[in-house]
């Protein structure tokens, strides 16, 4: 097993759910693939999907829901089969 870091490409606010009342896009332990949305990044009132871009098991979020992020910051870790 190897770990892949999911990096924020943008500065902004990271959200784990589509709206405060909704369920999280993904949880620690979930299986994800290339197209799985794991969160949103809000930049200047515009929202962009953050996708896993890899197939594996999401093992950990490194940023809390609704926290500011910098470009290059690690948002989550995914374990992939080698």
């Amino acid at each position: 097993m190897a770990s892949i870091e999911i990096i924020s490409p943008l500065p902004g606010i990271f959200y784990r759910r589509p709206s405060p009342e909704s369920d999280a896009f993904a949880n620690e332990g979930d299986q994800v693939d290339n197209n799985s949305v794991i969160g949103l990044i809000e930049v200047m009132k515009q929202f962009s999907d953050l996708t896993a871009d890899t197939k594996g098991k999401l093992i950990r979020f490194c940023v809390e829901d609704s926290e500011p992020v910098e470009p290059g910051q690690v948002i989550a870790l995914i374990d992939v089969e080698e």
């Binding site: 943008l10 500065p11 902004g12 606010i13 709206s19 009342e21 930049v43 200047m44 009132k45 515009q46 609704s66 500011p68």
Partner: protein
């Protein structure tokens, strides 16, 4: 009047905070800026006499927290609070809390904000004042059955609008009964989720309408209008380019529209600056009231340019007790003005945001040029707020001269480090239909989908000349 015993707290950020601080300074009133963690190194914080850091970067933990703003006012001994636009500017609860804390709210009463902020109620109020409204439901619609019955009178296509919505949010379109059946339920649940209230109403959808709005100013006794602004060039219902006066109104329609707006303001005993928004149908020359904004608007400078009236200074003076000395006959249209919103967005890439380090900025100079901005060299544009960086306001003796000056002004403007909407405005000013004033609220989006290549080219040219 002397305002020496007063101190004004500006509950906003960005260019409008700068605008308000400068207006207060010109009146000899000391100012307090509030800023979030992300705005500590910002122009308002540098210009104000005092600065209070009110909280983290996120707006809902800082600029939207009324209690933090009131605490800052108490700490600094501020006597009045100007809310600017956005954030808490149209929160009746905040206006009420300010007054309950023994302070002056620069704007209308909480009661007026509440009344005109509720779209269905605003409509009824306008009708009572004899102002034409878009054909629609009388008040809120609570069931699908009621909606389908009402739709017979309103006519299709129609809009389902959230009573508590605004800025283009909470609106759905239906072209027939079956679409209404589907969209009505969605509109109700969306309204509930977004605004906490599921109340909706129906309104005829006038295709190919212009957005024309009338500026009003009142002191609680007397209300006047300061003519209209044409704001039809919009993207996703956000204004991009505004002008005053509208290039299409005949003098008699203009008088009728503006006097109607002033009558409504008078009926409300309106106190402060406000805007009545209308849809205007070119073909029938009819106008219909749609909503009122009980605050200063982003595009207020075009009105200031053509009337010579400082709206922000008047808002402050009226709030502090000075009667409005301007009379309707004093207000005359002098020439023509346009405003171009410079946003940190890339028009060639779907208006993707471009925050970050602004290396340098150089503004145009010359006759009729006004820049409202909070930018300075090496400013780091935070990603947490809206993307408005600056407004270029260009005034000319007539519309053609305003356009000519605007083309020169855009060529002289250099913003390095971030991508902006400057190239969009350059392209728009060269468009024959825009030069001729031939557009409606759907024009810009159509233009954008047809001129994608042009914007990519403009971006490249721009990159060569300014980076």
């Amino acid at each position: 009047m002397s305002f020496t015993k007063h101190k004004l707290l500006v509950a906003n950020r960005g260019e409008i905070a700068v605008r308000i601080i400068r207006a207060a300074q010109q009146l000899g009133i000391p100012t307090v800026a509030v800023c979030s963690e992300a705005d500590k190194l910002s122009l308002p914080a540098m210009l104000a006499d005092e600065v209070v850091n009110i909280g983290p970067a996120r707006a809902d933990q800082s600029y939207l927290k009324g209690e933090l703003i009131l605490k800052a006012a108490k700490e600094t001994g501020a006597t009045a609070i100007h809310p600017g636009y956005g954030f808490l500017s149209e929160s009746a609860d905040f206006a009420e809390a300010v007054v309950e804390a023994g302070l002056i709210f620069v704007g209308p009463s909480a009661e007026t904000i509440r009344k005109m902020g509720d779209k269905a109620c605003a409509r009824t109020t306008a009708q009572a004042a004899g102002v034409p409204v878009v054909p629609g439901s009388e008040g809120e619609i609570n069931s699908l059955e009621e909606a389908i019955n009402t739709a017979k009178d309103v006519g299709y296509p129609l809009l389902i609008k959230a009573s508590a919505g605004g800025g283009g949010r909470g609106i759905r379109i239906a072209y027939d009964d079956s679409e209404l059946a589907k969209e009505f339920v969605i509109a109700q649940s969306e309204a509930k989720a977004a605004f906490g209230s599921g109340a909706v109403y129906l309104e005829r959808f006038i295709t190919q309408a212009r957005h024309i709005e009338v500026q009003i100013l009142g002191d609680g006794e007397q209300a006047i209008h300061l003519y209209e602004r044409e704001c039809s060039l919009q993207r996703r219902r956000q204004k991009v380019f505004e002008e005053a006066p509208s290039p299409v109104l005949s003098p008699s329609t203009r008088e009728k529209l503006c006097l109607n707006a002033a009558a409504l303001a008078q009926q409300l005993h309106y106190k402060g600056a406000g805007t009545l928004e209308f849809l205007y149908d070119d073909s029938s020359q009819e106008f219909f009231f749609i909503e009122m904004n009980t605050r200063i608007q982003v595009e207020h400078p075009v009105t200031e340019a053509i009337t010579g009236v400082d709206l922000v200074q008047w808002m402050i003076k009226i709030a502090l007790g000075e009667p409005l000395s301007l009379q309707q006959k004093d207000i005359r249209i002098q020439g023509s003005a346009i405003e171009m919103r410079i946003n940190a967005e890339n028009p060639a890439k779907g208006f993707f945001p471009s925050p970050g380090l602004l290396e340098s900025v150089s503004w145009p100079i010359g006759e009729g040029v006004r820049i409202d901005t909070h930018l300075f060299d090496n400013y780091i544009i935070p990603p947490f707020y809206d993307s408005l960086l600056a407004k270029l306001i260009i005034h000319g003796n007539n519309r053609q001269q305003a356009f000519e000056r605007a083309i020169m002004a855009l060529d002289e403007t250099q913003i390095k480090g971030v991508i902006t909407t400057l190239p969009l405005h350059k392209a728009l000013l060269k468009e024959p239909d825009i030069q001729a004033g031939l557009f409606h609220t759907g024009t810009l989006e159509m233009w954008l989908s047809e001129n994608h290549e042009k914007l990519i080219d403009e971006e490249k040219t721009h990159a060569v000349t300014t980076h």
